[in-house]
Structure formats: structure tokens, C-alpha cells
């Protein structure tokens, strides 16, 4: 059994999110009618977080989960938990809610003890009813007015031990699924407050083109048109109906002239382009060996991945309504407070004048156009005389104007001794930064802000610091015990193609590179890739997931023509979930992934089926990235702006996925949403080698890249 971190805890501290938002009533409120309002700062993006947080709250308070009302995040009063990203929601929001509820439970027990005249230690709570010996009882609801939660959380309150939790560790059904299956409006796209108007924004296909000339006559003739809004190169329409807005937009598009845009790189020489740009270079990590061993030979390999689109099934959507100089915004942004900060910068308004409320959209998988369309709605709603305006992007907007996951070139060099053992390891990453999220800087990062008559500069993406998991360098530091290494990151200072956070940031690329290179080095030594990895890992949890995946997959089945097996492993961010994958592929020209066998360790699994759902989903999405996905462009425009030109994995192509969770109820829970992508990518590539003896080092793995890799190796 793995023991929790044994290092001595000096003074007890509050969980991070609770320390930042200590007011207990901002998290939890009770109604006299028997309900508990739970207000997380994190938002539902299809990952099931609301249900996991409800389980935690219900457990700690001892109330039935059906009494919980999960409040959507809003800048009007929710705790500010930054952005819902990085697989940190269970870790941060979950711990905060657990501790807040533990303290609140104690406060109510103390009040009940006073009222009932019995000691706290003989009181019991069942579904919110607090009872003691001799049938005395009261409840959260009775005491709701007597116990003030307008007080700050205090450190040192111990939540229940894992053995006393009734819901955590159980696969409670998700609270939001019935609405979605019965089509009860829940998505922002489906909400229509009284008097709502529809907005659309006109954007050029050309990257960063300027509006030179436009005639409004055609659009003005469209029935139902309410307003045309123009500010520099930002142009949009507001109409009574969606049809009318679309018609007016089409008329504007016909009558608009644009300047040439920015020149885009050559899509077919992406790695060379990445390595030739001006960069900011950072040494991410360096490890020196106590003694240097003799290098017999040095091997260097280059890996790459293309730009990848978030490609949500729903186009981004937002709603805004002005009242005087105050604006209310509804958005599926991952960070309502950050969005508010950027809106305030663009509008030059104090933040108090802006309220941003979360409403669900489709899964976003990172920073897509959710925040951008919110500014679009705010700008268009100014012309709506106080009526709410809902703005929805087109599929083309979604696939060409939203930020993409950054393309990466990764070079790894290993010095080997006479036995083929690694004596030094050097890893370099080139690429754009992996985040340009709003709310972090003195300038707004929202698209329309760059289009106004007085434009803000375009935000060049940066990388979060390694202490927060890093960006392009995420998972670039090996978890393996190589004697020495040097890890470098080269962030591009130009950004002709807009990039920001996509699920895993740089981890998918780095894990792909490390794990494929390791596979190659193991093969050179004639060593089994499982044994090779286990020999280089000291972390028992890492070893356990690799052993579990290998065992379940029957590693390694006998070689058969046209079939291959490959392994991939990582601990997400080197601090999060452990994940090992065995991929089974088949095919020769077109690769199909038949089966993914996965073992994962997320610490305490609050909702095991939720963890499995996230791992499965991540694995299937990663398979899609690996086999199909690549943002296409010519020198002027993004050309992959439909599902035909940007295909994703279909039902008939989806592998069977088996997930085993290593139970660790005694350890802190971590997120599962991003754990599988890197390991799955590497496992597929390694399986391709096993089947075809070809190392594909440039993603995606398509018929073309296979042929190119074969030519390179022959």
C-alpha cells in the first residue's frame, strides 16, 4: 500500500482554492426548505466535474445528493477559481469543497449541541438531520438562520477519512445527463431569454486581414435587421431572427473587401519553419551525473506534431445584454473571472460593471473561441437597445479563427555507452507558446480586440511556468532515472497561426517523442520495452500502471502479420495521473487501432466511472489526433474549415478501450482528462513499428506519413 506523503506537516494550511476564497458562504449555503446550494468556481465542460464535486459535498455534509443544487459559476458571487483547466478541478475545487464542508459540518454540530443540550460527540447527521440520544433532533435547515457562514474558513479542520465516505469512490450517475438525453435546454445555444436578438460577425478567411471597404446596402434590405455594428475591421449584424442574421451576414460578406492578410508558413515544411523562427530559449531542467560514463555513440531523432484544432461539435456561442453602462454576459468560457477582466480592458469599464455567468457549451478541450465570441456578443449587444443578443459562430469560424493547439518540433539526443545504456539525454522543443488565455495580461487576448479601429495587439502565446506544469515543455522532463539530462524549450516570438491551450498542452508531443525514442533504444538493445522502462523507473506507482496495462493486454502477444503492439507511459505533468497504454493496431497502408488497454492511477477516484469515461474519451480523442488530425493551410488562409477538410475519428474507426483503475483511496485525487493523450499517441506509434518496422516520427500517422517514413528508413 502506498502511504500518503509522510513529510511532517508544520502548520495546517487551507487548500489553495479555499485560501483564495475563504468565505464559507461563497461555497455552501443552506435553505430552510432542505436544499444545499453548492457553488464551485469550476465549470462543467462535459467532464462530469459537477457530479464529482456534488459527491464530495454530500459525503462531507452527510446529506443526500438529491438535496444539492449545483450553482453555475458567475462573477456575481462564485469563488474565483481561475480557469477550469489542467485536470486540476478535482484537486483544487474538490479539496476546497471537502474542507469547507468539513468545517461547516462542525459549525452546525456545535450549534445543534447548544440547541439540543447534548455533547457534539454523541450527535449524528443523516441526510441533513442532526440527532442525538433520546430522540432529540434538529437539522441543517432548522439551523440555517442560526449558523452564519459569513465567516472565513480556518485551517486544521480534518475531513472524514476515506473509509467513512459513502459516495466518493462510487460511480454515481452524472447529474447533468438526464437533461441532455431528454433535450431539456441546458446549453447556451438553446437558451432564449425574452426579447432575445441574434448576432453574427463577419470575418475574413485571410489571416489577420483588414477590412478595406464594405457596402451595407444589401444587409440593410434584409427583413428583421436591427443593426449593423462596425468598428475598424470588426463588423457584425443584429437581427430579430437567426435566419435574418444569416442573410444579412451573407449580404455583408458579398460586399466586403479585405486587405491581404499575414503570410502563413509552408504547411509541408512545418518542423523546419518552427526551427527557423526567432525564439526565446529557456533551459527547463538540467541534471548532472555524479560521474560521466564513456559515450560510445550518440543518436538523435526529430519528432513533430501539426497544429490541432479543438473542433468542438458546437460552434462557440455567447449572449450579452446591456443595461446603461453595465453588461451581463453568458458564456461557456472556462474562466468567467478571466473573461470579465479582458472584457473590462476592451470596454474600458470597471469590472464591477460586468457580470459573466457560465452556461454550458459543448466540450471545448481547451481554449477555443468561447471567450472570443463573448466579446463579439458584448460589442453587438451595444446596438440592441437593452435587448439580449445571442451570437453563434459558424463551423468555418470555429475551425479557422479559434486558437489551435501549437505545432511542435522535438529533438532528442541520447549518448549511449558500449552496452547501449543511456548516459546522457538532451531534449529540445520548438513551437509557439501553448497559452494565450484571457485575463492574464495588461492587454486583452480576445479576437475582436485586435480588429477594432483602435486595435489591441495580438497576444503572442506563452508557456505556463514549469512549476505549473509548463506549456510546450509539459512532460519534457523524463520520469526515468537517466544519469544526466538537459531539457530546452524554444518559444516562437512570431505567431502567424493563432495558438492557445489544447488538452495536454505540449505533453502529447513530448510524451510521443520520449516514449517512441525509448522504444527505439530498447529495441536496439534487444530489450523488452516493458522491462526497459521498469528498469528506469523508481516510482512504484509508475511501475504499477505499466505492469497492470501489460498484464491486462497479455504483453506481449506473438507476432502476427499485419498486427502490432506498442507501449506508452507518462505521469501527466509529472505530478498528476499515471497512465500506461498498450495499443494494438492492424493494417499496412491504412492503420487502424483495434484496441487500447489502459491502466491509470488518479489517486482517490471520486467517481470511478467518471474517471473511466474521461480516460476512454481522452484515448479515443488522441487516436483521432494521431490517425487523422492536422490543421491545413495555404499561404493565406486556413483551409481545413469543414468536417470534410478536418476529419475526425468516426464510430467505425474507434478502437475498443479497456481501462483499469489502480485503487488509491488514501491518496489525494487528481484529474483524469488529460492523462491518456500522450501515452496513447506513443503506444500507437510504437505499435506501428512493431507491425511494419517503420518509425513514424511526424504526426499524424497517415498513409502519406507512412510512405514518407518508409522512404526515409530505406
Amino acid at each position: 500500500m502506498i502511504k500518503p506523503d509522510p513529510s511532517p506537516a508544520p502548520a495546517p494550511k487551507l487548500p489553495v482554492s479555499l485560501a483564495a476564497n475563504p468565505l464559507l458562504s461563497s461555497w455552501i449555503r443552506f435553505s430552510r426548505e432542505g436544499q444545499v446550494m453548492v457553488s464551485p468556481g469550476k465549470v462543467e465542460i462535459g467532464q462530469g466535474i459537477v457530479t464529482a464535486l456534488a459527491q464530495i459535498a454530500a459525503d462531507e455534509l452527510d446529506v443526500d445528493i438529491s438535496r444539492l443544487r449545483m450553482v453555475r459559476a458567475s462573477t456575481a458571487g462564485s469563488p474565483n477559481e481561475g480557469v477550469t483547466s489542467g485536470s486540476l478541478s478535482v484537486q483544487n475545487s474538490g479539496r476546497a469543497i471537502r474542507h469547507a464542508c468539513a468545517e461547516i459540518r462542525q459549525l452546525f454540530l456545535a450549534a445543534a449541541s447548544d440547541r439540543l443540550g447534548v455533547g457534539i460527540d454523541v450527535l449524528d447527521i443523516a441526510d441533513g438531520t442532526i440527532s442525538g440520544p433520546g430522540n432529540v433532533q434538529t437539522s441543517y435547515w432548522e439551523l440555517a438562520d442560526a449558523v452564519s457562514l459569513e465567516r472565513d474558513a480556518t485551517p486544521g479542520v480534518a475531513p472524514k477519512p476515506s473509509t467513512q465516505r459513502a459516495l466518493a469512490g462510487n460511480s454515481v450517475q452524472r447529474l447533468d445527463i438526464p437533461d441532455k438525453v431528454f433535450a431539456r435546454p441546458r446549453f447556451i445555444h438553446d437558451s432564449a431569454p425574452p426579447g432575445m436578438l441574434h448576432g453574427r460577425v463577419l470575418r475574413s478567411e485571410m489571416a489577420a486581414a483588414k477590412l478595406v471597404d464594405i457596402s451595407e446596402d444589401g444587409a440593410r434590405a434584409v427583413a428583421g435587421l436591427v443593426a449593423i455594428v462596425r468598428d475598424g475591421s470588426f463588423v457584425g449584424v443584429v437581427s430579430e431572427t437567426e435566419d435574418s442574421a444569416e442573410a444579412a451576414l451573407a449580404a455583408l460578406r458579398k460586399d466586403a473587401a479585405w486587405s491581404a492578410g499575414e503570410t502563413l508558413p509552408d504547411e509541408y515544411r512545418l518542423a523546419e519553419w518552427l526551427k527557423a523562427q526567432p525564439v526565446e530559449s529557456t533551459i527547463i531542467d538540467r541534471k548532472t551525473a555524479p560521474q560521466t560514463a564513456a559515450t560510445e555513440r550518440t543518436i538523435r531523432r526529430q519528432y513533430s506534431r501539426p497544429f490541432i484544432a479543438h473542433a468542438s461539435i458546437a460552434p462557440c456561442c455567447a449572449m450579452a445584454q446591456w443595461t446603461g453602462d453595465r453588461v451581463r454576459v453568458w458564456s461557456h468560457s472556462q474562466g468567467v473571472y478571466f473573461l470579465r477582466a479582458d472584457l473590462a480592458l476592451v470596454l474600458k469599464l470597471p469590472i464591477e460593471n460586468i457580470t459573466v455567468e457560465h452556461m454550458e457549451g459543448a466540450g471545448c478541450y481547451g481554449h477555443n473561441g468561447a471567450d472570443d465570441v463573448a466579446l463579439d456578443a458584448v460589442l453587438l449587444a451595444r446596438a440592441a437597445a437593452g435587448r439580449p443578443v445571442r451570437v453563434q459562430w459558424s463551423r468555418q469560424d470555429e475551425m479557422s479563427h479559434a486558437p489551435f493547439g501549437a505545432a511542435m518540433a522535438i529533438e532528442i539526443e541520447a549518448d549511449l555507452d558500449a552496452k547501449g545504456e543511456i548516459v546522457d539525454w538532451r531534449h529540445s522543443v520548438w513551437g509557439n507558446g501553448h497559452t494565450a488565455r484571457p485575463g492574464r495580461a495588461a492587454k486583452p487576448a480576445l479576437l475582436a480586440a485586435t480588429e477594432l479601429a483602435n486595435p489591441f495587439p495580438r497576444t503572442i502565446s506563452t508557456n505556463p511556468p514549469q512549476a505549473n506544469g509548463g506549456g510546450a515543455d509539459r512532460n519534457s522532463i523524463p520520469l526515468y532515472d537517466f544519469p544526466s539530462w538537459k531539457i530546452e524549450c524554444h518559444r516562437l516570438l512570431t505567431m502567424p497561426i493563432r495558438t492557445s491551450a489544447l488538452r495536454t498542452l505540449g505533453a502529447q508531443g513530448n510524451v510521443f517523442a520520449i516514449e517512441c525514442f525509448l522504444d527505439e533504444l530498447a529495441a536496439r538493445r534487444g530489450e523488452d520495452p516493458v522491462a526497459f522502462r521498469l528498469r528506469h523507473l523508481r516510482d512504484v506507482r509508475a511501475q504499477d500502471v505499466i505492469r497492470a496495462a501489460a498484464r491486462r493486454a497479455g504483453w506481449k502477444p506473438d507476432k502476427q502479420i499485419g498486427r502490432g503492439f506498442g507501449l506508452g507511459f507518462a505521469r501527466y505533468k509529472n505530478t498528476g495521473a499515471y497512465c500506461a497504454v498498450v495499443a494494438e493496431i492492424e493494417g499496412a497502408e491504412d492503420i487502424g487501432v483495434k484496441r487500447l488497454t489502459i491502466a491509470v492511477d488518479v489517486g482517490e477516484a471520486i467517481n470511478p466511472d467518471g474517471v473511466i469515461n474521461q480516460i476512454e474519451g481522452g484515448a479515443i480523442q488522441a487516436t483521432s489526433w494521431v490517425l487523422k488530425e492536422r490543421v491545413r493551410f495555404d499561404r493565406q488562409r486556413i483551409t481545413s474549415n469543414t468536417w470534410t477538410s478536418y476529419p475526425i475519428l468516426r464510430f467505425s474507426e474507434v478502437p475498443e478501450v479497456q481501462v483499469e483503475i489502480i485503487p488509491r483511496p488514501e491518496l489525494e485525487p487528481v484529474g483524469a482528462g488529460e492523462a491518456a493523450h500522450g501515452p496513447v499517441t506513443a503506444a500507437i506509434a510504437n505499435a506501428v513499428f512493431d507491425a511494419l518496422e517503420v518509425r513514424v516520427r511526424d504526426l499524424p500517422i497517415t498513409r502519406d506519413s507512412l510512405v514518407a517514413a518508409m522512404e526515409l528508413s530505406s
Binding site: I177, P178, V181, A183, S394, E616, W643, L649, F651, V654
Partner: protein, 156 residues
Amino acid sequence: MPSIRFRLNGVETDIDADPDSSLLALLRGRLRMTGPHFGCGANECGACNVLVGDLAVASCDTPLWSIAGKDVTTIEGLGSAQDPHPLQRAFIAEQALQCGYCVSGILISAAALLMRNPNPAGADVKQALDRNLCRCGSHNRMVRAVLRAAAEMATR
């Protein structure tokens, strides 16, 4: 504008509308029926699927003239929380979605499959859903859910 008559979720419906305009625009706009979702507007993702007769079609790409006299069923007509369709029950039982934006169109494609093949194999389900896109990776759960619903319907 001409009048178009059709049955919507079993209810006789008579609409004055441009016959070339899309069924999705009518449903989501004037009829405020938001179950069918806009995803691409080009019959490429399946999020807006509805049943016309017993066929699943993309309502974004279905002109109103083509549904005259026909039966149109949206997700709202498939079942409700009070009276769920076996598919809806099965999707809850299998927790067969993540974000759920695509799911109303997927349920419609699955319902069309079960009407023409009440006893499908997994491969049949994948084939029937192959024009529906899911970005969250819930495919395998959805296939399991459809098979579960088929099994439930067979024992009735």
C-alpha cells in the same frame, strides 16, 4: 408564403414558410424546439438529425418542401423523463456521453436503426452512427447503450 403541412412529433402542423428554408431553422427558430442542435449547417456532423418517417436526416440540410405530408420526429418526440424511450434509458444507464451536444442527433440515428433492425450487432450500430460525430470520445459507450436498448426492446 405557401403553407406546408406535416406531422411534428405526432401533432398536425401547418406552417407558412419559405419552402426552401431549412427544417432546422424552423424547429429551432419559430417552433422553439431546441433538441436538434446546430453543428455545421452542412450535413456533416449529425447534431441536428431528426426522423423523417423512419429515416434519420440532417435537418439543417432538409428543405421544408421535402417534408410536406411527412412525419417528423425530433428528440423531444422520442421520449421524455416521464415516458423515456428505451434508448434514452440506456444512455443514462451506460452514462453514454460527456458533453452531450451531439447526443440528440445520435439518439435519432440509433432510433432509425432500431426501427429497421431491432436486433443489431455492434458493427451495425457503428455503421448506423458513422455519420454522427462525437468529439468527446464517448463512442463505445454509445454503442453499448444502443445494444442495451435493443435488448430491452426485444424482451418486451
